[in-house]
Symmetry: D2
Subunit: 321 residues, 4 copies
């Protein structure tokens, strides 16, 4: 099967993930090269081309994907495509002790210089005062952060004909804001409608755990991804894989419930694909599991449950090879 | 000031952390070499010498420590001192989707061989059947885990004359079950009573994030720790430091509240010791913070908020040399 | 203005609340007489006429309703229209201590006789065995419960073009499963799209607090409701009013967050309509507020915050008269 | 057996509930007439006689009470014994949407006149300005609230030798701040130490659900209570009974977990004393249970699960008669 690469230039964007008219139909195994606007709807030129709120490129219809399958998406390339980004400058009230909230400074946005050549981001002074924008505070003037590009929001059309805001997340993916969704990672999503309808957007040049200021360094991206269909691979929550780990993703509040979803999904995965009975998987996870916080900012929080591949049995061919 | 090293052999153990009669008085800066029994009360010989429930060695009275100070404890050495450990073999019901709980196998304990020479732990077959003990399940028969010794439970006498069960945790420390409390780490605890009254126990040869099977690999330890007093360093939650990170510890349920405590405490610390105003610390944490899950098993959950030291300003001399 | 009463016979039903094609356009002040199917899609004859999942009658387009207004719906009549209902017979695992879950009997449904003449419901024996249905357990054979009909799920199209599953709830209303949504109650909902698009369904002949078995006594209803538009009355969460109380409704998990939404919305309401500054409203609520649990079963839990009208100041004409 | 009535005048007070030296030994069935200071440590004269923090009268040693029994306490009389009380005037930040917190006025205390003759409480103007005290806001100047006296904090020594702050609550009781703990109610508490060691304090002239301003109308009380021992009645959480309801009490955070504790305890009670198997109790609770919020302010929140006695089977003699 010859895999095609599609170059797609978005004309419109959605701020829900749902059963929208597909912008492109691709075959199982095809790749797409396209762009995403930043969370505020600004493109590579910095122009606002669509209203904000994590606007999504897509949806892409993947032929052969049917409810009950998993869509397997490899994030082949995630590259900021402009030289500026924005971030919040105050920790979200919901992440702080309630009686500390009154001490917070006013919400404001700060600019960053993004340099993909050096792989760094630096706080950027304003050319002139803007409402709601602040200059980098003095202690951060010489800060240099490494770029670790990731996508905050992507997913497939949810079950039951729902169209769900890109502010939040669920079994279908959505606004998970997990910094582990980086270049090279492969993600599985539960297909709920024919064609899966994959959406993607909300690039971050980098982001801390939890997205606790409500943003990463928000910017527009050049992206390339490849979609395959894993027939009959019924999953309940997003799953992912990088070089060293397999991981599962729970999206819910409180974080405890996100832990429950992610942990249960990992037990299921270890049984289905790695042939570990529940006592084996429990014992192993007990001593080797890692958790990472996606976000503790959005309406649904995101918790990731990871297992190191070197400790897991060989998988029989799992249809995703 | 000449620092002394005290060799202490425990005669009794406590399953609360509280204002108990000190077993030893030490000077500011002194070190203690002692032992801890495992969570079930078994010592280096495997004999049960005290009832289970995370029995603590101590308390140690540190001269000069007064309410309003911080006790600074360096975990100099944490070494398993017998060749066997125990772990749970089923993920705790509270960490799973409620409707998955019925699929769990029966609770049972498994043995491990601990080899400090090779730095490994391996599942161990039973010599003969025991009630409540199971053989390693077949898929784990050849598993080898690296030792990463840590202490699950330690702390100082809490405020208000309380004596708090070593099953749980709070501002005073306690049963945090965080695998980052490893050899070489320095921990700060808020002193609430004269002498601080430091307790320590519950060694784990290793443990996954979250302690989701309710145990690490539980075993007895040889420990060495050093206590200093940071006068007037008022902290609200445990703080710690290793080579690369400073971190704060929140203990509460749900995990969201533990996040709030740890994050707020980090903002306070960055302001007090690193001279970062709230907008600077917020902005920096937003893009660089890391969270680690201590436990999601005990009555209070534990969340750790970490900041990489390389991104922080130089600290003025902070009395903790 | 002459108010019309529309008699509407539903032909199709939705299991999302969203921007669906209206089934009827009505004027501000009009009433609708119609029917709802039960949560499983069964009508007055007991025939399954649509798939289950809280199918909704509607949506009804209310002329003049615009984003920023409140839709004011009076539930004029809520009457079960068949003689049978169904309920769950096991408390939901999520409402129980996790280690108790394994003791639960198998999930099963029980039938009830509904008698609107006597206003009672009684457990009903099966005519013949059915899979998934159980006979009333012996201790309940003579149980008689009073009917307290209510609607579990209703709402208006949500913001941002979303279509949200009728399994859950949010600012737009939805599956709140609050037994206080009974005949005679007036509800305010935040209008997010032109015409508001009111949906209604999921009648319960009665229900305990929390809907802890996952159901009330589920049955089909004859309903009559009246819709008015409160222009410019911007609300964030559903509000309601009965003879003695005003109340606000928060939908979220954990229940703590639902408490936050409902309490904050009540403070806003007391300020906007009752002219109570925050210190007055706080002081009064502190000693007089009542909370009621809607549901602790659905993906979002529901908490209701109530204030007795006799303790509140007179309202100036509030546009809802 | 002749029951005695003991008149006890407290000399000292505790701000933990724990294994303190008993102030009085009483027989099974005896009554105690005594007084409690208010949460701030002020007595009937308004004098501060002990530090604040819900100081407790007691503990009372009840002869015959052993671990594994329940202590049955009837709150015979709860009467405010001075003419003034105090309350908070701002809703606690933790009960509000995090982004609303900054709108709160400064924390301050208000005085109330308490009139047991008319059974009313009214806001009271200050005789002269005091730091931290405010005059009643104008809209509340003519407010009259009915007295509904209750005790916020009481309990027995907890398990494991713990001494737990009277700021919080647990299986042993403690600071539950539930307005249903009113005169005439009978409460069961799980005995963990010989003699049970009953403590009582923190009277409120009235209180709203949730204690959302952090206080009821705090005042000192004359109290009379009667203690009996229910041998071998093993309970896990406080239980209570009034004329119409039996109820169980869960103390935890988040509120969801308090719901789990209270609901599970009710299922246990219905099985043990009312002979309802789990399917019967589930079915009945599903349609008839009521929940009430104790507090959503203290470190542990309190949720009460109630069942109407008229719907329950006759109890066989339950040893508490």
């Amino acid at each position: 099967m010859a895999m095609a690469t599609h170059h797609f230039r978005p004309q419109r964007y959605y701020t829900t993930i749902g059963p929208h008219e597909p912008v492109l139909r691709i075959a199982d195994g095809d790749s797409v090269v396209t762009t995403t606007v930043d969370s505020g709807g600004r493109d590579a030129s910095g122009d606002q081309v669509t209203p904000g709120g994590n606007p999504q490129t897509g949806p892409f219809f993947v032929e052969g994907a049917e409810p009950g399958d998993a869509l397997v998406v490899t994030l082949d390339q995630l590259v900021p495509n402009r030289r500026t980004g924005l971030s919040g400058t105050t920790v979200a009230p919901g992440v702080l002790d309630p009686d500390f909230v009154r001490l917070l400074p006013e919400f404001a946005i700060m600019l960053w210089d993004i340099d993909t050549a050096t792989g760094t981001a630096r706080p950027r002074k304003l050319d002139e005062p803007h409402d709601g924008l602040v200059d980098p505070p003095t202690p951060l003037e010489h800060l240099v952060l490494p770029l670790e590009p990731m996508v905050g929001c992507f997913g497939v059309a949810p079950a039951r004909g729902q169209a769900i805001s890109t502010a939040t997340s669920g079994p279908h993916g959505g606004n998970m804001d997990y910094r582990g969704f980086a270049q090279g990672v492969t993600v599985l999503l539960p297909v709920a409608v024919p064609g899966a309808l994959f959406h993607i957007g909300d690039g971050h040049a980098t982001q801390g755990d939890g997205e606790i200021v409500g943003t990463g360094i928000e910017t527009s991206f050049d992206v390339r991804f490849t979609c395959r269909v894993a027939k009959g691979v019924g999953i309940r929550w997003p799953r992912g894989e990088d070089r060293d780990y397999v991981f599962t993703v729970g999206n819910a509040r409180p974080l405890d419930q996100a832990v429950q979803h992610a942990t249960t999904e990992m037990l299921r995965w270890l049984e289905e694909d790695f042939r570990l009975d529940l006592r084996s998987s429990s014992t192993l996870m007990g001593q080797a599991v890692r958790y990472e916080v996606g976000n503790v900012y959005d309406p649904a929080y995101t918790m990731v449950c990871k297992m190191p591949k070197r400790l897991l049995p060989e998988r029989p061919g799992d249809g995703r090879g």
